[in-house]
């Protein structure tokens, strides 16, 4: 209760629009020139199910729910991310 009013909202949404735009440009710019330093045939360990970020989406979402309803924090718990590119 240090202040009587909450701090004014930080306008982060525009930043994310720029991030989306930058990401989009990255996608269309053709990123194929970079040579992968871990070759596809070297990814057997990464392809092991124990290396998946999440194996069960229902359970992961439920546990996030249990936490979020009792904590002030929220978000960024892995909803983004991605696979290991093992295929």
């Amino acid at each position: 209760m240090n202040n009587l009013r909450p701090a004014p909202p930080i306008r982060l949404a525009p930043l994310f629009r720029w991030a989306l735009l930058a990401g989009g440009l990255l996608l269309v710019s053709g990123c194929g020139n970079i040579q992968p330093w871990v070759k596809p045939y070297e990814r057997d360990r990464l392809a092991d199910p124990i290396m998946a970020w999440e194996r069960d989406s229902v359970s992961a979402a439920y546990l996030d729910h249990v936490r979020e309803v009792r904590e002030g924090s929220r978000g960024a718990t892995g909803g983004a991310g991605g696979g290991c590119g093992c295929n």
Binding site: M1, L12, L15, G23, H65, V69, S73, G79, G85
Partner: protein, 392 residues
């Protein structure tokens, strides 16, 4: 009422499930068809919450998949926030969701709609996400957008008073990177902006009142009508020299209400042949209070914004969890390629540093506690999950 707190995050969790679905997919190839039966039970702080879920996922073509999920949870009990012992809570939430997922080359598109209904809360969410593999499939970029519209009500003995609406817009950006043959790392950023009726109508603020025998009275909370939060999480997963994996993650959170939260988690995964997977994890979370939170105000209407919701209080919690997965059809059966059964149990210890236990302690207790001197509140909770997944 904890049920009300539950509602606040339900939509985001449902969206998270959809995003996790995308995350579980390796871009370019849709995951196997699957059906899941899920049961959960949370017990702690005077509350019992059971959850039941059915999920079916099916490929329509090699590039297009559809997923449907139905989730019902039932709340009963009386938490610390319900000061009258007679007020037992009973509530049911029903949530339906559908997701379409489309793969083209190295891009995965996902579109979800979620509808959640209770007597006193309605929520509709639409989300879209895009996932792109690049740099020789070493890097995966994910972008997500979520829009939610809620109707917030209060149940007064069966009569629902609709208090207002809340809208939120969320953005997700995630990057997952293969760093070596044994190491993968990720960064996830999430920004959410809310506006509208954001308070929990079942929780109250407390102020000194010499005219009340307890020494204090309760009144409806007054919240700001906007909130913007930012969360950044980093995580890494490492394949150990033997067949096992260790995962570490850290999340920093801050919002325009003054809350700063830090989350640390460590997880160890150990398979035994291809039949069992054992997991153990430890998680620690700590936050400070919102700048308009107080356990006890000096008088009614002291400030423009006043809250005594313990989600906004300073506190911490520690979780220890164990999980075992059993593959009981490793060679398949009829239409099923394989199936697994999982049992997961977590023990969570919550401690608050500026939220006092006024339900069980006060002037009339022995010994007597003046307002503002009651013992701080803490409680332990146990969470069970049992589920079966069949892949076909």
């Amino acid at each position: 009422m904890d049920a009300a707190a539950i509602r606040r995050s339900v939509r985001r969790v449902a969206v998270l499930a959809a995003l996790l679905l995308v995350r579980a997919t390796t871009a370019g190839v849709l995951p196997d068809d699957r059906a899941d039966l899920f049961y959960s039970k949370y017990s702690g702080g005077g509350m019992d919450i059971t959850g039941e879920s059915v999920l079916v996922r099916k490929k329509i073509t090699e590039n297009l998949a559809v997923e449907a999920n139905y989730f019902v949870d039932k709340v009963s009990g009386a938490s610390i926030d319900v000061l009258s012992q007679a007020s037992q809570i009973k509530d049911t939430r029903k949530q339906k969701s559908g997701t379409l997922e489309y793969v083209h080359d190295k891009t995965t598109y996902s579109l979800s709609y979620i509808n959640s209904v209770e007597n006193d809360y309605k929520s509709n969410t639409t989300s879209f996400s895009l996932k792109q593999d690049m740099f020789g499939d070493l890097t995966t970029l994910t972008l997500g957008y979520t829009h939610t519209n809620d109707g917030v009500g209060e149940n007064n003995g069966g009569a629902i008073a609709w208090l207002g609406h809340a809208q939120s817009v969320g953005y997700d950006v995630g990057l997952s990177q293969i760093l070596s043959k044994n190491l993968i790392a990720g960064v996830n950023v999430n920004v959410i902006t809310d506006n509208g009726y954001l308070a929990n109508p079942y929780r109250s603020y407390r102020y000194l009142d010499s005219g009340n025998a307890k020494g204090y009275s309760l009144a409806s909370q007054i919240y700001p009508d906007t909130r913007t939060s930012t969360a950044v999480q980093t995580e890494a997963k490492y394949y150990l020299p033997y067949r096992a994996a260790i995962t570490g993650s850290y999340r920093y959170f801050s919002d325009t209400w003054g809350i700063v939260g830090n989350t640390y988690e460590l997880d160890y995964t150990h398979p035994i042949s291809n039949i069992w997977i054992l997991e153990g994890s430890v998680r620690f979370y700590k936050q400070n209070n919102a700048n308009f939170y107080s356990d006890l105000y000096q008088f009614a209407g002291q400030y423009n914004f006043m809250a005594r919701d313990r989600n906004l209080a300073a506190g911490q919690n520690t979780t220890i969890a164990a999980k075992v997965t059993y593959a009981f059809l490793p060679d398949g059966w009829k239409m099923f390629k394989r199936a697994t059964a999982t049992f997961d149990v977590s023990r969570i210890a919550y401690k608050y540093t500026d939220f006092r236990n006024i339900k069980y302690y006060g002037i009339s207790s022995n010994p007597s506690y003046q307002p503002g001197t009651e013992p701080l509140y803490s409680f332990d909770a146990t969470v069970y999950q049992i589920y079966m997944s069949m892949f076909f």
